[in-house]
Symmetry: C2
Subunit: 212 residues, 2 copies
Amino acid sequence: MAKHRKVANPLALAVLAGLLREPMHPYELGRRLLESGKNRHIRYNRGSLYMVVEQLRKAGFVTERETVRDTQRPERTVYAITDEGRAELRDWMRESVALPRAEYPQLGVALSLLGALEPAEAAGLLDHRSEALATEADEVRAHVEDAVDHGVAWVLLAEEEYRLTLLDAERRFVARLAKSLRHPDHVSVSQELLRPVPERTRQGPDRADRAG
Amino acid sequence: MAKHRKVANPLALAVLAGLLREPMHPYELGRRLLESGKNRHIRYNRGSLYMVVEQLRKAGFVTERETVRDTQRPERTVYAITDEGRAELRDWMRESVALPRAEYPQLGVALSLLGALEPAEAAGLLDHRSEALATEADEVRAHVEDAVDHGVAWVLLAEEEYRLTLLDAERRFVARLAKSLRHPDHVSVSQELLRPVPERTRQGPDRADRAG
DNA sequence: CTCGATATAGTCGATCCTGACTAATCGGCT
DNA sequence: AGCCGATTAGTCAGGATCGACTATATCGAG
């Protein structure tokens, strides 16, 4: 299933999507990425950008359209997406949306080695994380609210809402885990996670639990 | 805050934790990682393992203890953790647990470029993902239940429960998003995510400076 | 006893990624 | 006119990563 794409870096997906709108030079692509704040969802840095564009060119997904030098600044090479590029973009997008693939969130690593810490200390650290997550979530929320107020269609904010979902879920989990670590008798987080999901169409249990 | 660790690969955290229990040769570390299924939470492959061990040695976090050749198989070099290594492990664990750091889940990328797909098609793809996520979650659940039945302490399953939490959250989000894409009039996922903000223990910097 | 399959243990090169660097130009200030 | 800092545009060396490779040992089937 896992296709070996000729260019695997997710940044390439953004490049193809960008060039779908209109031909551009790499720096401009990067500028728009930063401007639109998409860099919070795609790992971006300049070097990778130029590399990825070059890779896409070699793979035939984009072509060098022209090299202009209107001012006396360094030349800007403008790239355009090809038909193969369009095909790749569609295929890749479909795959990214439809198929989840292995990810390695950093907390997973830490939790899997949690034994190396005293339960009491771990609980304290988890509290700290919980606070930090709440703060981050507040920021995203503010950002989304602001955008909505300015008339941005909600569909365009899907990625922010996704981020929010994950942040909230992690915060709740972390808070519960901290609590459990303090009362090892009360049996676990599992109880909550294992019971209440018999049916898969069941809609969300919206409860905001925040223990003192 | 974001420390430049001498060895940054998360695999190194697992290596240190492994050597904390007892001195070992790299291959054995790898074997245990696979055996205990921790490789689902830590990106593992052989080459990286040996590299990481070598890096840790150079950094003084582990030392070469002995090189044995009991059978006629290739030599096995046994490593032991040093005091510096122990310190690094504790510090690193504390940081990983307490401080969330930027992550780039693949779906975030896709969502931020969702405009490149027809809403109807996107909805279908999201349904597909939702199914896949449910299946994955079922597998993890089965695994956890099994472990619990075999008397494994729940604390040792924190990472599985975390995974479960994320899978469930994503599945719910994805399902709702698909629904919204089919009824663009019904206003969005936001409604649900923005309202139920539990008032947090006031202390964070509540600022939303984003004048437009 | 021999063949193939699997497990053990480690190495290597090609590719990829990143942060730091160059280098010119523009805008503003004095 | 001269200078400072920000912006524009791109390059590059040094690491990090991954898959593929080597080579021996053990085990089971025939």
